[in-house]
Structures are given as structure tokens and as C-alpha cells.
């Protein structure tokens, strides 16, 4: 193959299937460019960033076309694009679609609550879209370089977003903590990647998997065990930071408290979803091989990952729930709740690692459980942070005390928030229950009874602090009975739209679950 052939092949691949599959990301890129240009060419159009972002995210969603790929009629297998750097399958379609849906809702939220400062709006949305681009890469990564690239692209704009409010001490402190911890864990992760890549002789994820299987089967492995285990652990450090898993969670409550509620929503939803998708991809890469003997040979790797992720999940979940008790600041409380939910979400991933060897159907169910959970979690946390932002605007405080007697001052908000909180606990007939149910079902199916027990125990534990907020809102009365809370109609409507899926999916989650199932169909 001479040079021109290579160029021509690459061109054909790039312009053909690759760019077609990459259209959503292209839409995001185009939006970023449009945002910057509009800022330059039409500086008087103040609301341009909002409209451009909404249109751009909607266009990306249109190109991602989940209704096309997830309807079950198309049975497209996974396809690798850009010469194997990225993978395009139903899982990435599903997760990216969620991301774009979130972007639309997020832009509207920022519009409704009116943060951040007006003149920064363009920069803010550019950062958001840039991070989203990185998350897209994380979700469809098929190569270790893309993994790292995606994580960095998602992280670096997030650091800035955390410190977006200028001249506020808490804000710059949050940004500093986030940046330092984030960069440090990314560095450790990169070192781990370099070890794994070097030992396995490839950075292409499926190839790494087969190489690992060959090594495990061939027995010339003993001297490399240590390096592989160490490399795996280091990669996990980076992921754990993005997932806010214990012991790499400590940045999260601080950052949430220092950043605005809107940014916290972004970090707790988009960032978490992308990290979860990446975790699933990595576990599949190192635990699954299409060939039966290789699949059998990977058993120790699966065992290792299942134990590691399972333990992390259990500890994360328990810690998050316990630490949430003593909080007086709503954003910190939701931060710890985010940590706990990261634990719940990791449980089916551990189950998947366990099941991948023998029961592919059950393993796919576990992946759909993760996908389903992420979708429900998106609306739960979005709603929760929207309430925090609205109450902040109306009452000027983010302390839980500020919510006292909310039901008398703003009935709709209190009812919506109660629904969201009960959904976070996981009570039927709300979507949070369905999500937990499918997740725990997978954990049970994998035979991880201890993990199941931890998960259920945590559900009971979490009741207390969520219920405390409900209690404050409903049973307590405000000391300074400040009368009705001024709340714009748009804000109420927004909250209603975000809360509605929790009730609708709680009662009838077949549609979403069918999509989640379709999302997992292409894996393994």
C-alpha cells in the first residue's frame, strides 16, 4: 500500500461513514464557532448565546437520531469510525442523545434562572459545549488516546465553569480545588494508561482486550501481573475522580458549594453520565472478547474489575449517604447525594463485569440498567438543582433552612421538589424506583448478594436526609413568614416539564427501558 492509497482510504473512510456518524459532534463544533462569531459580529444581540446553544444542541440531537437507531428496527452492529479511534453503536447513540437532551434543558435552565453574569454568557456556553464535546468522545472512545483526550476535554472547561463567578472567594477556591485534583488524577491516569498500553502492546481497546486474553491464556503473564494491576488501578483513579467515587470524591461537595447551582447540575449529570459510559466501555474492552476461548481466558480480569468496581460502588454509596446527614447547605447535600448515586450506578457495572463471561443476555440487561439509570438520574438531578437555583433567586440562600415552609410559599415548587426527592430515594411509583429496581435486579442476577444488601441498606439510609428536606419544606413553618415566593411562570413551567418524566416513567417505563435495552444490544 503506497502513500496515496493510504491517503485515499483514509479519506474515503473519513468522509463516508465516519463523518456521517460524527455529525452530532460536528453540530456541536459548529455551534461553538457560531457562538464566537456572533459575539464578534452581532454583539448587541444579547440572547444569542442561549438561542444558538439550544438550536445547536437540538441539531446535534437530531443528527444523533436515537429514534432511528433505538427503535429496534435497525439492527446495526457496532461500527468503528475514524480508523478505529471511535466506535459508533447504539450505546453511544443512546448516551450522546441523553447528553444533547441535557444540553437543551441545561441551556433553558440557565436562561430561566439568569446565571451567570450576562456578558459572560457566550464564554459560558462555549465552555459547556466544549466539555460536551469531550464527553461525546468519552462515550464513543475506542482507543486509549481518545479516552484520555475525552476526559481532558471534558475536564478543563469544567474547571473554568466552576470558577465562573468572578470575585467570589468560594468560587475561585472551588475552581482551584477542582483543577488541582482533576489535573493530578488525570496525570496518574495517564501514567496508568501508558503502562497498560505498553504491556499490552496496543492502545486500541478491543486489541488490548484480545492481547490481554492471549497473555492470560498463554501463561507468559506472571511477570506482568503487577504492572497490569497497577495500571488498572491508576486508570481507575482517573475514572473514580470523574465518577466522584470514594476516595476521590472529596472535591465534589466543595466544588458544588462554591460553584453555582447550574454548574453543579452540569457537573453532577453530564460529567457523571459520560464517566459512567466510559467505565462501561473500558470494562467491556478488558472483560470481553468475541472469541469463546479468549472470553474464558479473561475470567481473572473480569473478576478483578467486578471486585474493584463493586467495592468502590459499595463504599461510595455508603459514604455518600452517611456524609449527607450532617449537611446544612442544600448544594452540599445534593453533592453527597450525587456521590451516593454514582455508587448505585456503578453497581450494575460490577454486575456486568461478573456476568459477561457466561450470560451475555444478563450482562446486556446490566448495561441497560446503567443506561436507564443515567436517563432517570438526568431528570432527577436536573430538577433538584433547578429548584436550588430558583430558591436561591427568590430567597437568596442555599441553606436548607431557607426551604422552611416552602409548601406554603410556593406550593408548586415544593410539590415538584418532593417528587424529585422521593424519586431520588427510589420510591414507587416514581422513576427513581424503576431505575433502582433494574439496577438491583442485575446485581442480584450476578449473584452479588452482599452488594445488593449494601445497596438496599443505603436506600433506607438515604431516606433520612431526603426526608429531612421534605420535612423542612412541608412540616416546618418559616420564621420570617415572608409570604409567597416570587416565581416566574417560566420557572414553574420548566420545573413541571423536568418533573413530569419522573412520574410518567415511574408509571410506564417500558418505552425508555426498551431504548436502554436497544442501547445495550450492540455491546458484546
Amino acid at each position: 500500500m503506497n502513500f496515496f492509497e493510504i491517503v485515499e482510504n483514509t479519506l474515503r473512510d473519513t468522509l463516508g461513514p465516519s463523518l456521517t456518524a460524527f455529525r452530532p459532534e460536528m453540530a456541536v463544533c459548529a455551534t461553538i464557532v457560531a457562538l464566537l462569531l456572533t459575539r464578534m459580529l452581532a454583539p448587541r444581540w444579547k440572547s444569542s448565546p442561549f438561542w444558538l446553544t439550544v438550536v445547536g444542541a437540538a441539531a446535534a440531537l437530531w443528527f444523533a437520531a436515537p429514534w432511528h437507531y433505538l427503535s429496534g428496527e435497525t439492527s446495526e452492529r457496532a461500527a468503528t469510525i475514524f480508523t478505529g479511534m471511535l466506535v459508533f453503536d447504539t450505546f453511544s447513540v443512546y448516551m450522546r442523545s441523553l447528553l444533547f437532551v441535557f444540553l437543551v434543558f441545561f441551556a433553558v435552565l440557565v436562561r430561566v434562572t439568569g446565571v451567570p453574569e450576562r456578558e459572560d454568557l457566550t464564554e459560558f456556553f462555549v465552555l459547556v459545549l466544549g466539555a460536551a464535546l469531550g464527553m461525546c468522545l468519552m462515550l464513543s472512545a475506542n482507543h486509549m488516546l481518545v479516552v484520555f483526550l475525552g476526559i481532558e476535554m471534558a475536564s478543563v472547561p469544567s474547571y473554568v465553569m466552576a470558577g465562573m463567578i468572578r470575585h467570589r472567594r468560594a468560587s475561585s477556591e472551588a475552581a482551584l480545588k477542582y483543577a488541582v485534583y482533576g489535573a493530578a488524577t488525570a496525570g496518574v491516569m495517564l501514567y496508568g494508561i501508558s503502562l497498560l498500553v505498553g504491556v499490552l502492546g496496543s492502545a486500541h481497546l478491543p486489541t488490548m482486550g484480545t492481547q490481554l486474553a492471549d497473555m492470560l491464556a498463554g501463561g507468559h503473564f506472571a511477570d506482568r501481573t503487577m504492572v497490569l494491576v497497577l495500571g488498572g488501578l491508576m486508570v481507575m483513579v482517573g475514572l473514580a475522580f470523574k465518577l466522584s467515587a470514594v476516595p476521590f470524591h472529596f472535591w465534589l461537595p466543595d466544588v458544588f458549594e462554591g460553584a453555582t447551582a447550574e454548574v453543579a447540575a452540569f457537573l453532577s449529570i453530564a460529567s457523571k453520565a459520560a464517566a459512567m459510559g466510559l467505565l462501561v466501555r473500558l470494562v467491556i474492552a478488558f472483560g470481553y472478547a468475541p472469541d469463546a476461548t479468549q472470553l474464558a481466558a479473561l475470567a481473572p480480569a473480569r473478576q478483578y474489575m467486578a471486585m474493584l468496581i463493586g467495592t468502590l460502588a459499595a463504599v461510595t454509596c455508603t459514604f455518600g449517604n452517611l456524609a449527607a446527614y450532617g449537611q446544612t447547605n442544600m448544594k452540599r447535600l445534593l453533592g453527597y447525594s450525587t456521590i451516593a448515586h454514582a455508587g448505585y450506578m456503578m453497581m450494575p457495572v460490577a454486575a456486568m463485569a461478573m456476568l459477561m463471561g457466561g450470560e451475555p443476555a444478563a450482562a446486556r440487561s446490566a448495561v441497560s440498567a446503567v443506561a436507564f439509570y443515567v436517563a432517570v438520574y438526568l431528570f432527577m438531578n436536573l430538577g433538584a438543582f433547578a429548584v436550588v437555583a430558583l430558591v436561591r433567586n427568590a430567597a437568596g440562600s442555599e441553606e436548607i433552612d431557607a426551604y422552611a415552609g416552602l409548601i406554603y410559599r410556593s406550593t408548586g415548587v415544593a410539590v415538584c421538589f418532593s417528587i424529585i426527592l422521593f424519586s431520588l430515594v427510589g420510591l414507587p411509583p416514581l422513576a427513581g424506583f424503576a431505575a433502582k429496581f433494574v439496577a438491583f435486579a442485575s446485581v442480584y442476577d450476578a449473584g452479588m448478594l452482599a452488594l445488593l444488601a449494601v445497596g438496599l441498606l443505603n436506600t433506607v439510609l438515604s431516606l433520612f436526609y431526603y426526608l429531612r428536606v421534605v420535612k423542612v419544606m412541608v412540616f416546618d413553618t418559616a420564621e420570617d413568614a415572608s409570604g409567597a415566593m416570587a416565581m416566574a411562570t417560566s420557572a414553574g413551567l420548566y420545573l413541571l416539564i423536568v418533573t413530569a418524566p419522573l412520574v410518567v416513567w415511574g408509571i410506564w417505563w417500558n418505552g425508555l427501558y426498551a431504548w436502554a435495552k436497544a442501547a445495550s444490544a450492540a455491546l458484546s
Partner: protein, 114 residues
């Protein structure tokens, strides 16, 4: 195997990379100055980079079928660029912290109860 008596091979590079990594981690963990911590992060990244480059070279490895070739070199280039971007952002954040707190001591960042 005594590394000092061997001709320079993969292992030597890895050792240097590991030293860089450890130095970086120690630097991150002990420095109180924000800039110092960022320097530690750079060291870690460069340690990983050295690994990538070394793993990428077929002539350095005995088991050359495991050499990652261009992938390693590309990774190194990308990491250099990323490190620069990250450093730029991190320095800007340190600067903004300095403006609000009049210090770059990371231990002073304790107003948000941890």
C-alpha cells in the same frame, strides 16, 4: 538483572519515567504552593510521556511485537498539547485565586468545609 550493566533499553526509560512519576506525585502531595503543585502534575505527565515514547520504539523492546509504534509517539504529542492547555487553565485559576485570597498557598483553600 542489573540495569547498570545492560545496554540502554526499554527498562531504563521506564525507570526514568517512574522516577519522574514518583517525583511528581511527591511534589503534588507535599507542595503548599499552587504553582508547585502544578509543576508536580507536569512531572507526572512527562513521566507518562516518556513511557509512551519508549513503548513506541520497536528497537528498544525485546518483544517487538508488543511495540505500539506510532500510537505511542502520537500519544506523546497529544499529551504535550493537552498539558499545555491544562497548565494554561490551571495557572489562570491559580491567578484568580490569588486575586481573591492574596495567596497561592493551597492550604489556604479551606473556606469550604471539607
Amino acid at each position: 538483572m542489573n540495569l547498570l550493566t545492560q545496554p540502554v533499553g526499554l527498562a531504563h526509560y521506564l525507570v526514568v519515567g517512574a522516577i519522574l512519576f514518583v517525583a511528581g506525585v511527591v511534589c503534588m502531595a507535599t507542595k503548599r504552593n499552587g504553582i508547585g503543585v502544578l509543576m508536580g502534575i507536569e512531572l507526572v505527565l512527562n513521566g507518562a510521556n516518556l513511557n509512551f515514547v519508549a513503548f513506541g520504539s520497536p528497537s528498544l523492546r525485546a518483544d517487538s511485537q508488543y511495540a505500539i509504534g506510532l500510537d505511542g509517539h502520537m500519544a506523546a504529542l497529544f499529551v504535550i498539547v493537552l498539558a499545555a492547555a491544562e497548565a494554561a487553565v490551571a495557572l489562570a485559576i491559580v491567578l484568580s485565586f490569588y486575586r481573591d485570597h492574596a495567596t497561592v498557598d493551597v492550604d489556604e483553600a479551606d473556606e469550604l468545609e471539607g
